[in-house]
């Protein structure tokens, strides 16, 4: 469930204006441009709890360093982007190594000023807004949507205060490369000066026995309310029915790291989660965040009922809170610390990021 894209999504949501930091390679009078952008960040999880199955190794500190570099540009109505990520595979079953990967590679076309389509390797539509309403960064509820996908056709548009997006991904994959089947998701949102509301949904067609992932349906909801200039509160929740195979038969184990199996006996497991969060901007440079989270995976209840397996320490569901401090000495730099309490996967998360 822990996905590599979590952080960058969180950041892009936070730094809506991040691209303003980009270095312009050229910009023509007709608007055609090419820009270089990216980020460098170091940091990680402090006192992570291995039982929560979010990290590759049982350590007292799990590095979460991350770097991105990309170019983006446009030729009139056509726009494009290539973005490379260099990240540590620190998630469960990850290698723990730093890995370079293409995160985005797409070409888009502005149908009008308010409507555009993209094709390629890109965020699925819901990926852009699945965390909406969460003012924290990395240690809160994760919505189990499909994230970035190749072979994706995406439409996004807005009208007045409304914004909508939908995408179709052919033969999507999980972060570990397991087949999802085709992925369709989308959102619809209302954005005002006082409140933003987003509703989204996703479905996967399933892998037809190729991986453990079967059919899936997910509903997501996010909202923000701007109480004052400095105080905002948010809400985010999702519910997901995901078919997971209970039986597998190895077919080819020539590569022990990537055995080929057939999967059967899919059972629908329900996952759900939600949070409330708040942000307080003390100054331009200092802000404080907090959240209270709830998460329930049916798989937890199943394992807790199993014979001969240890129960999860948090039971069938877990709740936890976060408190964070962000310091932004400039618009391109952020230092942040986020402390966790309750049934959380780590005690704290700390990092420093520079955007260019």
């Amino acid at each position: 469930m822990f996905k590599k894209t979590a952080l960058c999504i969180a950041l892009s949501a936070l730094f809506v204006g991040v691209n303003t930091q980009a270095a312009t390679i050229y910009e023509k009078d007709n608007g055609d441009s090419l820009k270089l952008y990216g980020e460098v960040g170091v940091g990680g999880h402090i006192s992570p709890n291995y039982e929560y199955a979010e990290f590759f190794q049982d350590k007292s500190y799990v590095d979460d360093s991350f770097a991105t570099m990309g170019i983006k540009g446009n030729y009139q109505a056509v726009y494009y982007r290539l973005e490379l990520d260099y990240e540590r595979e620190n998630w469960k079953y990850g290698s723990g190594d730093m890995v370079l990967s293409i995160d985005k590679m797409f070409i888009g076309y502005h149908l009008t000023d308010n409507h555009a389509i993209e094709f390629g390797l890109t965020d699925t539509a819901l990926d852009d807004y699945d965390k909406y309403g969460d003012f924290t960064f990395d240690t809160t509820v994760e919505t189990g949507e499909a994230g970035d996908q190749a072979n994706t056709l995406k439409y996004e548009g807005n009208l007045s205060n409304f914004k909508a997006g939908v995408s179709y991904s052919y033969e999507g994959e999980s972060s570990s490369g397991a087949a999802y089947g085709d992925v369709i998701n989308g959102y619809f949102g209302l954005f005002t000066d006082y409140v933003d509301v987003i509703a989204g949904a996703e479905t996967r067609t399933g892998s037809d026995g190729e991986s453990k992932y079967g059919e899936q349906v997910l509903f997501a909801f996010g909202a923000r309310a701007y109480i004052t200039e400095s105080i905002a509160i948010g809400f985010n929740a999702y519910v997901e029915d995901e078919d997971i195979a209970q039986e597998s038969t190895p077919v080819d184990i020539t590569d022990p790291l990537n055995p080929i199996k057939t999967y059967n006996d899919y059972q629908t497991l329900r996952n759900k989660g939600g949070l409330v969060s708040a942000r307080y901007k003390l100054t331009e440079k200092w802000e404080f965040t907090g959240s209270y989270n709830f998460e329930e995976y049916e798989a937890w209840a199943i394992q807790n009922a199993q014979y001969g397996k240890a129960d999860f320490s948090w039971g069938d569901e877990r709740t936890w809170g976060t408190v964070g401090v962000n310091f932004k000495p400039s618009s391109s730099v952020i230092f942040a610390v986020e402390g966790n309490f309750g049934e959380a996967a780590q005690d704290a998360y700390a990092y420093a990021r520079v955007y260019f």
Binding site: G181, D182, I184, G186, A201, T203, R204, T205, G206, S207, D208, G209, E210, Y213, G214, E215, V217, F219, D241, D243, A245, E247, T249, P250, V251, D252, I253, P259, T262, Y263, N264, D265, Y266, Q267, T268, L269, R270, E298, A301, I302, A305, Q306, Y307, G308, K309
Partner: protein
Amino acid sequence: MNKKILALAIGSVLSAGAYADINNILITEYVEGTANNKAIELTNYGAEYTFTATDTLQYSSYDNVIQNAAKENVLEGVTIGAGETIVIANGGAEAELLAAVTANSARVILSGTYDEAKYNSMNFNGDDHVALVDGSTTLDVIGTDSDWGANKTFIRRFADGDVTPAQSSSHVFNNWNEQIRDVAGTDTSENNFTDLGLATLAAYAADTGPQVVQMLPEDGGSFKATLARYVGQPVSLPLDINPDEDGDQSMRVARTFSFDYSNFRNNMVLSYKRPNMQPNQENVAGSSAAVAANAQNKDYSLLIESETKAADGDIPYYPDFSADPANNYIRIDDSVTGLEGVISYNSYNDIYTFTVSNTLTSANFTHNTPRQDRYALKKALAEVASGDIEVKVATQNVLNYFNSPFGGAQNNNGDNRGATSFSEYEKQKAKIVAAIQGLDADIVGLMEIENNGFGETSAITELVNEINLAYDEVKLSKESKDNSSSNRYAFIGFDSNGDTIIDADDSIGGDAIASGMLYRPAKVTLDAVKIIPMPSQHDDPVVNDNGVVVKNYTNAVLESGDNYMRDSLAATFIVNQTGKKLTVAVNHFKSKGSTCVEDWDGVEFGDTTKLSFNKDKALLDEFGSNDDLQGNCENFRVAAAVQLGEELNKISGDKVIVGDMNSYAQEDPMLVLTENPTAKELKAARKTFIGKEPQFGENGQVITKTYGYLNAVGMKDAEHGKTSWSYSYEDEIGSLDHVLITPSLKDRLVDAADWHINAAESPLYDYNEDRKGDFADAFYADDVFRSSDHDSAIMVLGYTPGETDSGQPVHLTKAGGFINVPYTIPAEAGALTGDIAEITLSNLDGNVYVDMSKVTSPKVALTADGEQVLGLELIGAKSSLYTATMTLKRDGEIVPNSTVSMTVKVAGADSLEPKVVVPEYDNTGGGSFGMFGIMSLLGFGFLRRRKAK
């Protein structure tokens, strides 16, 4: 019979040449009265004699030597004068008895009381013999070790012609007279001391032979009431015990000659007019009908004993049995007539005992269910319709077939339970091989085969190789012969460790034994293999009132709360020459012997921490755990039945359940799998798990769903008017082994039967070499009889060539380079002799290149008119998917309505090596996005099924 007691002077009958010898001393009177009034009168018909240390008076089956108060041989040193009569009496005998002896001027020698000499006091109580013994030689005996002489007095009779009787080393009923006139002149037997100490003998009575046992109307149909009238008397068992009932009512063998753990003797049990069917075989367990059937079994049973303890393998009253076991076998359901002996009653076991006194021959036995060899079995089974394909499915218990101690692969799941020597193993193998070859089935489910993998030296590999040795004729022209190589078997392996090969490291489940399956690739093709995990139970151990874990007599935990059973093996086959799938699941449910936690519910242990021997069974009886006669763990087996039913429901097509369900036909697990017409409450065990997943929770669950399977053997038995059984336990028989079919197979079922080669036979015929005395070799033969303890069962199914399940191609296997395509010529074609049948193939699989020019398409002239199935042989068709189009031509023109098209899959037959079968996607939710996904996006996701939890 009139009493006649003669008092004679002993001297008048003494011969002049009498000499001092214990052989001249006789037991002349026996008194077993109330309390300690027990006495034996001895009379010396020879010269004066002084008993030595080896001269003893003994009683009971334990041969207790009667001792005096000093715990010394009560006879030793006692001198008995010529012609003298002395009385040995219990030291606690009442004064009345002692006074009577004194009044008769005789001496009394007292044994010790119980307090003084314990079991060596004079303690016989009516179910013991009493004997005068010289060393180890029994000289003179009265009575037997069964209930014959309580509260009775017996006096010795003269021999014919008023001749002094001779010593008798066994009890002869006619030697003794019970009617003795007491001092008041009344005939009485109890506490009659009138003659005690007097050297008198009763008048000679000619032996009129045994009375013929006969049931009378006043017995009210109770056989026990009949037997009660004959206790203590010599009787014979006739062919017709009840003249008032039509036909013959003979005694039938209910348990053949074997070791009886209740009495620790070799014996057998007969039952009045029929063997004892286990009550739950034909009546719903726990029903009033089952209770009545149980009562009738108890009422009808008669334990058959020998006068002397039978040595292992030897029947004292039937010497021909061990002299020629192959011909003089005794099988369950045999009628036994002409037995002579004495009936007694054993109150401890509540059963009447018949102690045989005559010598039997094979003429005394009539085999109502005679031995049936492989040829007789084949002849007995109905055949499929002409032209149809016959598929026979069988179940065979292989009685813990272990080869690991004899060069086989190591067993990682447990220790040897089978043969204990190589010689025994060879014998076991020979018998099992003969049985499986004899079944001649196309699919054979095996139980109790060693779970030591599927490598070259595993038990199943070795067994199959041995079986296949008989099928050495490879000529296709001789395919119909018994020894054709087309009869060879492959076994089903399972890649349990997921390394994509089937080898020695794989197993089925974690028990030392497993279920297995054999099949004939020439008949069926393996399509899928599924291991169905069976429930395990994990609860707290059984504790006493103080919370202390209770142990049994071996100091092991009485009931740990952890119980397991063997996983089931389900294989789906395609019947060759058809497109029909047939799934066969072989099972071996938890036995009735060991307990599960539910069996101890309500049992009060108090502060007991350790049970004595057999106390566990006594407690279960006392607290009614087995009142419904299902044995232990029926709830656990119900849980297994549900699991089996549910998992098989996930497999489409025709299904067969075979194996040892450890449940009689009307017991709870069988009601779950078939139907529950009386709506009996069926409860699955608590705290069971499938793998690690909880099954029915903390309290178990009442099961209301049934799975509708049909009992194939039961159905055919009903048609044939017979009753089958597969197992003999104690004095009853019933079917623990079953062949169940889905209703979809009902019309395909041609025949089904139990093959009574094992349960009816004495265990003396099995491979074991111990517990058979000197007769192990005499009993053994390389044949099918007693190859196991369970009978096999076999079922015949019929298929029409070319028929298919919906959407399935006809599966054609290549043999000798050609395929045989079944062409079902429709009736409406009006086919005539001489019409020419033609066939064309077109390849449907784009991934396979087939050079169709190399496929020869035959033209076959019909030899009969009308609707028929014609086999068209094609050579050169590669393995692929084709459309086969067949048509008739007459005078070069296509005959209207004669064209038939079908999809066929051409493949090689399965090899004899086990193959990994990769399951097809089961459509359980892994994919097939359609309208549902769209509906979900529109907010109708709540309509999705959710199966977990």
